[in-house]
């Protein structure tokens, strides 16, 4: 009992009496521990945060009707969507395509959920505004040029089931005599620039498209942007094709394949960087500790001369080191979290998940490094004859 009391008293007294030097050592340990916990936290969060950025490439899964089914409809799409966890859905946009005529020219109209399309295709560049109300449309750049329409112009679209069956002579069909023909007026709200096929379409809300086609509702394809790894996506494909036989889910290979390739590289980059930084920082902490301990050779010599055993001296130094390591490690885990949070907020505008397990890991790692760093110089001091040590060199 007495021994332990004395031990603790010696450690704390030595730490307190040599305040300035101990502060230097503590600072070194805290910096090392900060980097350890901060970088590890970032490393674990990179795939999630970066994956989010890759959603900018747009939909990574589409639903199409299976060959033997009657097609997609609201019910079976809802059913398929319920298989996917809500937290992973970044955007869902159903599409239906119809050919209509504007000034006797055939144009493809896509009915969709505008809000959903905004999320599944974040790269769409819209000049003007996104349509938000009934009767408003978004027109592709090429079609806009072809029809020479501008923002806020009004265009009239004609849908006729008959004209479609006979696409070669649309002009010969007299609209006034065609009872099936539906005419509707739309206001151009925005012009769409994508550099892809979308530029030759006209986009409108699904309700408008259904009205234009005489209230008949159908869905041709559903685009989904899911924040999930390729394995998870494959699991969803299997699950949905089993549960909802009317729907065939397909992965957009271009997006999923490339994402896996690039993301793996990015993660291994952060991993290697973390390893290099940690390795160097650990050695840095160790050398600082060694410098602080080497300075106390005289003290070791004096204690030896007074009759202390090597073991008790080494134990005491390690005790001091472990205590410093624990305090520095704790400080470092807190600072590391603050650093990781700051980085995450700056880079990804989102918070980082605090990993509780990292706190004990950081503390134990700091204690181990510090203890190991203490042993070498203390050993060399205890091995030497106290008289020589006390004399200096």
């Amino acid at each position: 009992m007495e021994r332990r009391k004395m031990f603790i008293r010696m450690i704390t007294a030595s730490l307190l009496r040599r305040r300035s030097r101990m502060f230097v050592a503590l600072l070194a340990i805290a910096v090392g521990a900060t980097i350890l916990s901060g970088l590890t936290m970032i490393y674990y969060d990179v795939p999630r945060q970066m994956g989010e950025q890759f959603r900018n490439y747009g939909a990574n899964m589409i639903f199409v009707a299976s060959a033997e089914s009657e097609g997609l409809n609201t019910e079976n799409v809802e059913e398929a969507l319920s298989c996917i966890s809500d937290s992973q859905k970044r955007g869902v946009a159903p599409y239906r395509y119809e050919t209509v005529t504007v000034n006797e020219q055939p144009v493809i109209v896509a009915g969709t959920d505008i809000e959903g399309a905004k999320k599944t295709s974040p790269y769409w560049l819209v000049t003007g505004e996104w349509p938000s109300e009934k009767g408003e449309i978004l027109i592709g750049k090429k079609t806009a040029e072809l029809l020479s329409v501008e923002i806020d112009d009004t265009i009239q679209m004609t849908y006729s089931a008959q004209a479609l069956e006979n696409p070669d002579q649309p002009a010969e069909t007299d609209r006034s005599e065609n009872e099936d023909a539906i005419n509707m007026e739309f206001t151009v709200k925005g012009i769409l620039d994508t550099g892809g096929n979308e530029e030759s379409y006209i986009f409108m809300s699904l309700e408008d498209a259904n009205e234009l086609t005489n209230g008949e509702s159908k869905i041709d394809v559903v685009e989904l942007s899911l924040s999930a790894t390729q394995d998870e996506l494959n699991e969803y494909v299997d699950l949905i094709s089993k549960k909802v036989p009317d729907i065939t889910p397909r992965l957009v290979k271009r997006v999923t394949q490339s994402e896996t390739t690039v993301l793996t590289k990015l993660q291994s980059l952060v991993f290697l960087v973390t390893i290099v930084v940690l390795l160097l920082m650990m050695i840095c902490v160790a050398t600082t500790m060694m410098a602080v301990v080497t300075e106390r050779r005289k003290e070791v010599g004096l204690r030896k001369a007074l009759g202390a055993s090597n073991k008790s001296i080494i134990l005491e130094f390690i005790g001091e080191g472990v205590l410093l390591g624990a305090v520095g490690g704790l400080l470092g885990s807190i600072l590391g979290f603050i650093f990781a949070q700051a980085i995450s907020m700056n880079v990804f505008n989102s918070t980082i998940t605090f990993r509780v397990l990292l706190v004990p890991v950081t503390i134990i790692a700091s204690m181990a490094v510090v203890a190991a760093a203490c042993i070498i110089p203390v050993r060399s001091a205890t091995d030497v004859d106290p008289a020589i040590v006390l004399k200096g060199e």
């Binding site: 910096v31 290979k253 271009r254 160097l280």
Partner: protein, 429 residues
């Protein structure tokens, strides 16, 4: 005498000085490695993102939409020609201002042919085309790299250098016509007929699954469009768009002269497009937003992430070094006290200590630079499979950092020691 004292200190206290040099070496190698990787990460990630395919498409100005919709068949020669790009002008893409940023470019020609009585779109392109440019550059390009996401379900990629009459068939079409790898198919186009050997079946989850891909020459022969192209896909390394680039993309003519020059001489996707249009007659080059936009976003994030990690590790190594320097100066309190006791001036003592430490720092710093450079190479080779470029800018940054950190670490410690009375110091507080 001064030199002798410095030399004496350096050699007599070899162990301690080596430890300081070693710590500085670690710090400087960390700084060098991180800075090199940071400056290079943009280019490297950009190259990786090329997996998503081309970010610029070049099409003839005569809009193909008009062509499709009115079904204008070429009545006279001029009309046909204006709807195509010229193959002979392809090489000019590599002569634009940002030629070095053009990583890949591949021409395409498509037409409708019939196979077993079925109308099918055939696309002619390069697969693994080897280019020797007039600039002396060698380039391997083609859809083997531009369509890296294609999954070959049967057979293998077409090697156009070995097999002249090869073709690849999309999986949906292959199913429909019951084609397997190794089969021969007879394709008849507007201008000719040819027998092609199917080398592979691909699955890409898009429209291409219903098409046939073959070499450029074959497709041109079939449709009678020798020397003509319907589109070119260009893969370029670009700088993420900013406000200027967005303004310029609308109409470069509206910019002031200074703005125009900044824009033209920056690798924005819009300025590269503009420069391509300048060299290819009758063309419209437009960015593929899906790729160009996303690339910008991801690169920006990665670069920012690396910058912040670099700053974190620079701060770490700076604190590490200054810490050790402080510790090692304090350790020498006895020596400094003795010097003062025998009458040395404060200035002389400071200069002596600083010189010793600076020499150690320079040795450690230089060695650290090379070690750090090695680390950067290891990272570059392991992650991206290519060497990290050596950036000269890193040398001054690291040198300034090391010098500052060493001074900051040693000066306060020397000051504290000098402020004490020699008797106190020698007594050991």
């Amino acid at each position: 005498m001064f030199l002798r004292m410095v030399r004496g200190a350096l050699f007599r206290q070899k162990g301690k000085m080596l430890m300081i040099a070693f710590t500085i070496l670690l710090g400087s190698s960390l700084a060098t490695a991180m800075l090199n990787v940071m400056f290079d990460v943009g280019d490297k990630v950009n190259k990786e993102l090329k997996a998503y395919g081309a970010n610029i498409t070049v099409v003839p100005k005569e809009n193909s939409v008009i062509d499709d919709i009115y079904q204008v068949e070429g009545d006279d020669e001029d009309n046909i020609k204006s709807a195509y790009l010229k193959e002979e002008e392809l090489g000019k893409i590599k002569t634009i201002f940002w030629a070095f940023n053009i990583v890949d470019f591949t021409p395409f020609i498509d037409s409708t042919v019939s196979v077993d009585g079925e109308d099918v779109t055939i696309v002619g392109s390069w697969f693994n085309h080897h280019l020797s440019l007039p600039t002396g550059e060698e380039l391997d390009t083609g859809i083997t790299s531009l369509r890296a996401w294609w999954e070959i379900t049967d057979g293998k990629w077409l090697d156009e250098q070995k097999q002249e009459d090869g073709a690849m068939v999309g999986t949906l079409l292959a199913e429909k016509l019951n084609i397997k790898a190794g089969d021969k198919i007879t394709v008849s186009g507007k201008a000719g007929k040819k027998e092609l050997t199917v080398t592979g079946i691909f699955d890409c989850g898009a429209d291409e699954d219903e098409q046939i891909y073959t070499s450029l020459d074959n497709a041109q022969y079939l449709s009678g469009t020798d020397g003509l192209l319907s589109s070119i896909e260009v893969s370029a390394l670009t700088t993420p768009d900013n406000e200027l680039a967005r303004r310029a993309a609308k109409d470069p003519g509206q910019l002031s002269i200074a703005d125009y020059e900044t824009w033209y001489c920056t690798a924005y996707v819009s300025s590269i497009c503009y420069q391509i249009q300048e060299v290819i007659t009758g063309s419209v080059a437009s960015p593929v937003r899906q790729v160009a936009d996303s690339e910008g976003a991801i690169m920006e994030k990665t670069e920012l992430l690396m910058i912040l990690i670099t700053v974190l590790s620079l701060v770490g190594s700076a604190l590490g070094i200054s810490n050790l320097v402080t510790a090692s100066v304090m350790e020498r309190s006895n020596e400094l006290g003795l010097l003062k006791a025998i009458g040395a001036k404060d200035g002389a003592i400071s200069i002596l200590v600083l010189t010793e430490i600076m020499i150690t720092a320079i040795v450690g710093g230089v060695a650290g630079y090379f070690v750090g450079y090695g680390f950067a190479q290891v990272i570059g080779n392991t992650v991206f499979g290519s060497a990290t470029e050596m950036k000269l800018m890193v040398i001054p940054i690291v040198s300034v950092l090391i010098v500052c950190v060493t001074l900051i670490g040693s000066i306060p410690a020397i000051k504290t020691l000098l402020r004490m009375k020699p008797a106190e110091v020698l007594h050991g507080r």
